[in-house]
Symmetry: C2
């Protein structure tokens, strides 16, 4: 039926093994032969059979992407965006990407297990960090190649992670607002969990102190006690939109009465006015880098673990303003 390496070999007048070597651009094969083989492949419209290649080589040519076991993934544009970026980079490297997602850790682990044990993938990109879970433990215990997007809390030095510098981002948020003349600021969050919150807040706090300004931490679970605060740093875009609506209802206008800066530069940032001043976290590069790192790890399992920091960029829009 389908064209195989044998057909190509016959047409090029060589042995199948030579075709295989030519395909992989083996250095021992003469350029002349390679050329003949290439021609034959083109003539016959040859495609490798991935199953045969996998079986013979032991490599699957695929990677798995692991989504967090949460319900509201679809609410966060981050996931679709990074999946697209990962796929793009993978395709460039002639690698396919499969996905693992589940509502619970157990479901997720079961998928990951199957994918790896059946040798469907050579490694994984994990799209959530923070505290360890069964999935990560399984990967570490099995010495399975993986990279984490985000910053793990424990055993960080045992794995490769790709992330933004959230602490620096928090600091730059404070810095930028200080530059606009704001003296009394607050960091607004709806959670006190997670590395992302901790790092962003820590950066904010330290910077505020070093600048000798006034800063506080506010939770959206309570009504925001704003006494004289003129600028807010909000944990993410979605929360910022909600906070702004809450302020508007209280007769407080953004940015005239109060400036707001947030993080992620997602759709929500330019959905309604005031469009948000927010940090672009460069998801595309997060995706590309994680694939590259993973391919290195797969090629050389003893490659050292490292942290890759992807740059961010402040997008100034309508929600911030200098104090008059």
């Amino acid at each position: 039926m389908a064209v195989t390496i044998k057909d190509v070999a016959r047409r090029a007048g060589v042995n199948p093994s030579t075709v295989s070597r030519a395909i992989h651009n083996h250095s021992a094969i003469s350029e002349k032969t390679k050329e003949r083989v290439r021609k034959a492949m083109a003539d016959l419209d040859y495609s490798r059979n991935s199953a045969a290649q996998m079986l013979a080589s032991g490599k699957s040519g695929a990677i798995g992407v692991i989504f967090p076991p949460i319900e509201n993934k679809s609410e966060q544009p981050f996931f679709m965006k990074i999946l697209t970026a990962i796929n793009e980079e993978a395709h460039q490297n002639k690698i396919t990407v499969s996905i693992a997602s589940g509502h619970t850790i157990e479901e997720l682990l079961s998928q990951v297990r199957v994918m790896y044990q059946e040798k469907r993938v050579d490694g994984f990109i994990v799209l959530y960090a923070g505290e360890a879970d069964d999935v990560r433990d399984y990967l570490l215990a099995g010495e399975i190649p993986f990279v984490i997007v985000g910053t793990p809390i424990e055993r960080a030095n045992e794995m490769t992670a790709v992330d933004n510098d959230n602490k620096l981002m928090g600091a730059e948020a404070a810095q930028y607002l200080a530059g606009l003349g704001h003296k009394k600021l607050a960091f607004v969050t709806n959670t006190d969990k997670g590395e992302v919150f901790h790092e962003r807040y820590r950066g904010f706090e330290e910077k505020i102190k070093s600048l000798g300004l006034n800063g506080q931490l506010l939770y959206t679970s309570e009504s925001l006690a704003l006494d004289n605060v003129t600028a807010l740093v909000v944990l993410d875009d979605i929360l910022a939109i909600k906070v702004i609506q809450g302020l508007t209802e209280r007769g407080i206008t953004v940015p005239d009465d109060i400036s707001v800066i947030s993080f992620n530069n997602s759709v929500f940032a330019s959905l309604i006015h005031p469009y948000l001043t927010t940090f672009d976290i460069n998801i595309t590069q997060l995706g590309h880098s994680s694939v590259q790192k993973l391919l290195h790890l797969i090629a050389d399992p003893d490659d050292f673990r490292e942290k890759v920091t992807v740059p961010f960029e402040l997008k100034v829009r309508e929600s911030t303003k200098a104090v008059n």
Copy 2:
């Protein structure tokens, strides 16, 4: 290294071929033997090697999900949500899902080609409908099993499609508003392209006529000419949020002055107040059904093509109100 079917055979005291048959629950194998084989598999923690299975059987045990070649996929929660549902159903059927996505049709087609020619997947789920494109032509021409989520415009009877009844949804929107006493309505859109718009609007229009009410079509590209309209049917949630903000700026309040009903029930619907009255399109079932249909098609390529219609449900929230 890894446990193979041979190891299991030895342990169970049978031939490898018997193990294979037992695994597939072949009817010719005695229950007693199956039991022995199962025990041996469990003892040895056996996992099949998918590459070997693919090569020998010609089936990949994987399906591909094709995303639309658009930039703003990540802005629409639909994609992540259906991907999750697809993966869930696939996993239940011991199938993995790989993805294809590209910024252009060419890139997309190249990915789809590779996936199929290399036999990495047995079929595809296409996440966009409307007019034909090179990808769909390729699938049709190659008689490759696929199902479309959405409603194709051309050659609809040649493919299996899974969708909501958008026309009925448009009609029910009008019906619901009429029930609240609204007499002058408008359908608001930002595009006149695409099946989704056409169907929803057509349903709206016909229902308005049959009820003897007044209805018009408004484009958000122009400022909305609202003379005495008391209710709006808006193409989707995102647009509805923007429309509501525009109205608010003009001093028009939703739902007191004007009611708004939209479609999709995405995150945007309950992001800010007024929370939207909107149609839940049941994405989970769209995903599950499309996988089931695809698996049927793969198992039996001569299975007839059909259209599967998934029910929807109106979620009444804050943006609609009876006329006083």
